[in-house]
Symmetry: C2
Subunit: 144 residues, 2 copies
């Protein structure tokens, strides 16, 4: 998969250029997030990485995800499952509508938040960092 390999290279270049070390743990964690087509949990990343590198510790997974998150290489979403999920951030960001009744998850484009972002900047001089958002409520199939 060419696109994936290219993305991986770019991401590790970002790390190297910023002076971060390219450890096997970091590469594997990054690869796991990139290989996941949807949103992946820390535990899932952990077991994938451990398949190739049994000594890794779960805390390393969390620390690396934190690092990647800070560099905007991955985004984090809380869909209200009691665990956070991660997503590689090369595609356009998107948000989630989570139905409180049936659990359905609807992805919506980030453009939806542009008016809100503009208002916050204009009225509050607040530069909102809206990457991944989960909005809870009731979906079309679950009437009130």
């Amino acid at each position: 998969m060419k696109g994936r390999a290219k993305r991986a290279k770019e991401a590790s270049d970002v790390l190297r250029e910023l002076g971060y070390r390219l450890t096997p743990q970091r590469m594997l964690i990054l690869a796991a997030v990139q290989a996941s087509d949807s949103h992946i949990s820390a535990e899932e990343i952990y077991s994938q990485v451990r398949a190739q590198y049994p000594h890794v510790n779960i805390s390393t997974v969390y620390r690396t995800l934190d690092l990647l998150k800070g560099l905007s290489l991955v985004t984090e979403t809380d869909l209200g499952e009691g665990r956070v999920r991660y997503h590689y951030a090369d595609k356009g960001h998107h948000h989630h509508l989570v139905c409180e009744r049936c659990g359905a998850i609807i992805e919506v484009d980030e453009d939806l938040f542009l008016p809100l972002k503009r208002t916050l900047l204009k009225d509050y001089h607040f530069q909102a960092n809206i990457r991944h958002f989960a909005i809870f409520g009731r979906c079309a199939k679950c009437p009130r």
Copy 2:
């Protein structure tokens, strides 16, 4: 404090009318949330309640907060401190802008989200339940 006593009565009426039992634990937890002028954490509620009723368990606090949350009597906010905070829900809902650099917390009115709510309802038929929201970013005093 008349207003507070009145609110407490109303809240316990809601519980009773819905068939929930009015236990001293619940009353004390409710009172603690109501007595807090700002947002209160589960641990703070726990120690306040325990001062009057030493046998209470922290799990009861969480379970009660969950119940009250479901009944829209309290709202829950995650301000990114690693612990969730609670707030009595009789006043108009509001949201928070949290500065990722200096930690400042700015309260904003819920009206700000009305356009977004309308869009979600119109385009996705999704009835968003936006009570308490935290938006992270950079405040006016922390330039980029």
